[in-house]
Symmetry: C2
Subunit: 129 residues, 2 copies
């Protein structure tokens, strides 16, 4: 049986929350999973900072037809109030068809007992079109 | 006058070393800047692990005409033997023409007193072609 630390469980719960809010089309809820200084580093874009920008970014992704995001942790390291996660994502359309899959690194911060995304960078593992 | 911590200075020196080895076409030297478990998460590719894979990846980039990589730290956080850097990169051709510019996150590890790249992910800030 694989053992799971408290941190593993907490980050899985936070990623479950991310997946749930994404599937619900809840862009403000997604933004609220980030710290107030939270930052996205999206492909083919400048950096996006703060809850307003993050909400607009994810709403834009949803409007482009991305209806679900699945997150799988590959490696997770706890460093006190910070955790560094390497993972894989899969983005899918309403009919379940995969739109993109790739890799990410998230730097998490423990914000008053709740783990929030502080820095979020990803890229596609698919060949450029 | 901006103040620079020992960590700032050490990571700048390591990035200078990266730039120098890149400009010299020294792929094995570049690979040696990573930990033995070092991992690249390149766009449009699966993850690349270990010195052999990292050397081959950077040699491939050089063979494609990328002759220099410039690295600029945006944010750096020390967490004991780990440091998390957010930065910007610029890749250029032999004639100095910019081939790509974008963002990266590097997780550094202090490996016996020397800071080495342990996890390296980046993406372009340019619009998809």
């Amino acid at each position: 049986m694989a053992t799971h630390s408290d941190l593993d469980v907490a980050i899985r719960a936070a990623n479950d929350d991310f997946e749930r809010r994404f599937a619900a089309g809840d862009a403000p809820g997604l933004a609220g999973l980030y710290t107030s200084a939270g930052k996205l580093l999206p492909p083919n874009s400048d950096a996006v900072s703060g809850h307003g920008g993050i909400e607009a970014f994810w709403r834009g992704a949803m409007d482009m037809g991305i209806k679900s995001a699945k997150l799988e942790t590959v490696q997770l390291e706890g460093l006190g109030g910070t955790a560094v996660e390497e993972g894989r994502y899969t983005l899918a359309a309403a009919d379940g068809g995969v739109l993109d899959q790739g890799k990410y690194v998230v730097v998490w911060k423990n914000d008053g007992g709740r783990w929030k995304l502080d820095l979020d960078i990803w890229n596609s593992s698919e060949q450029a079109g």
